[in-house]
Assembly symmetry: C2
Homo-oligomer: 380 residues x 2
Amino acid sequence: MRFEILATCPDTGARAGLLHTAHGIVETPVFMPVGTQATVKGVMQRDLAAPLPEGLDAQIILANTYHLFLRPGHELIRKLGGLHQFMSWPRAILTDSGGFQVFSLSDLRKITEEGVVFRSHLDGDRHLFTPQSTVDVQLALGSDILMPLDECLEYPASHEAANVAMQRTVRWARTAYEHFQTRASETGSRSALFPIVQGSMFADLRRACAAELVELDAPGYAIGGLSVGEPRTLSMEMTEVTTPLLPHDRPRYVMGVGMPEELAEYVARGVDMMDCVLPSRNARNGCLFTASGRVIIKQARYKDDAGPLDAECPCLTCRTYSRAYLRHLFQAGEMLFSTLATIHNLKYYLDMMRQMRQAIQVGRFRAYLDSVRNSAVESN
Amino acid sequence: MRFEILATCPDTGARAGLLHTAHGIVETPVFMPVGTQATVKGVMQRDLAAPLPEGLDAQIILANTYHLFLRPGHELIRKLGGLHQFMSWPRAILTDSGGFQVFSLSDLRKITEEGVVFRSHLDGDRHLFTPQSTVDVQLALGSDILMPLDECLEYPASHEAANVAMQRTVRWARTAYEHFQTRASETGSRSALFPIVQGSMFADLRRACAAELVELDAPGYAIGGLSVGEPRTLSMEMTEVTTPLLPHDRPRYVMGVGMPEELAEYVARGVDMMDCVLPSRNARNGCLFTASGRVIIKQARYKDDAGPLDAECPCLTCRTYSRAYLRHLFQAGEMLFSTLATIHNLKYYLDMMRQMRQAIQVGRFRAYLDSVRNSAVESN
């Protein structure tokens, strides 16, 4: 998987690049919409891929290995031609390892050196995930970017617990990477596996983890274990200590972030890829991001508001419907609300990433970042 | 509202026509998708209006006066430019009078000659619907076709009760029609009100009701009080005794029908318009209509079925997704299932109506009807 850096910001760590996958080119920095169960909730694939300026034009989405392993099952998806064909999404797909969901959704987790035994949140069935098996599951799915099994701790964790988990994550990453390389060379797979830097909120552990994983010479690296309840400053700090230790010429992916106003902060720290359920989940809950701030659509002030959700947004929702109609759909519990709201929030995120990319390319990212910081200060 | 009959079937009562509304021409016979709360559940307006051959190209939809009166309120919709503008639907809209919902959804109904007092199913608030007020509500919505308040009985009802309700329905229809004509001439409205023939399952009452209502010389007529639990043969019989008594040159609308195999039967009896929640509700429940019969998508046989839902259907769902993927979405409780399933079922209904229309125009409706009857026999 080739990564080309086209431009770097002279004042920050921001970079604009191209990630070449077997399912198209991904322009970075990029935000990946989350399609947990082989669907970005409420949004048709056609609308995710719809062209600019109105469309979302998402070039890569994320799917969850844990969920797809349990239902409908990776072997079924393999049989049906892989995840791209199964869900009619011809563009790039990144899958997580399932580790995070095992820790957040399932019961009866038992971690050994071999892997993790857990009970399905659907039917209570017992399963084992190992570093090798989660690679095999993701290869069956045909993901473009795979993640190795890792141990993700809650916040706060003791230094000792974090160190134990980090060391295991490193050993699992080595096992997974080796297994992946063997399988990929057997099958001629053009996918890539990105090891995950862990270490909870301890800078020394993050550094140690990064140093170990860099030895794998992987085509990309992820920073995991953030967005687990820690203060935002800590997530930023952990990113900041980690990215300089990762190879400059490989993409860096921070998992599970972030708020709209944080995206530029991550990019400024040299992050190329992000994902988060926030824009889509908030959309379904009636919290919409706009150029002039958050819109909580259920508020009575929008009852007779004939204007678009965001006058500056070219998305289908903003071009077609009024705030009053969106509020009505939300209040009435109508499905269409979730669809329209998700389209808008994802458009907001994806367009923001495109603005950053352009700012980096024309040498104005520092000014962009300052303007984001100033609006954040103003809105506080 | 002008209605043009373009062709009639020499062997049955079927007719193909054009209904000219202020929001476009409606080709009849037509099936109207139900958009209860100013949205056809799960389907974007863009997709409802998408052009043939792939699109639904719905020319008219139905909305519910009762629901919109309660939420968001007809005065709000009026203020926002009327229902067409509110819901971004530039094509024709028919609204019912709310009578049916008052009888099926709300508590504490008290019927007097003046109207019906009821409690909202949303918050228990008390409201009064009168023949005049429901016209005013629908004029505020800006509907193209309005329905007068009627009294709709459950099945079975006694002849006496049915007679009382029918007589009241006739008196209310006169009041509503007069009120509508006054208001429409004041405002220059191009809408039309269709009186509703009631009479439960008694042919004599249906005939008497039709005879009374025809005196109003309305631009169209509806047949109501069907699909309330009676055997199908009775619904057909009531339609059959009523349509010959209605003016030949006016559109006839049978409310709340029907099953796919019944549509041609109604058309054969001279019906021009129908509506039903069945295709959309069944879709959401995983029951899909196809050229080769019903598909209950949760069945295990579809688990690894890579084929389209209906190989003969040109809709977005059938062109894009497999049965296996649709089943997965359904099993996983994903919203996208409802959207894709509703698009397909509505496409199935609307295309069937277009086939009938074409068959009438080329003089082959009798053969079409026979073929529908034969497949119905075969599938029994």
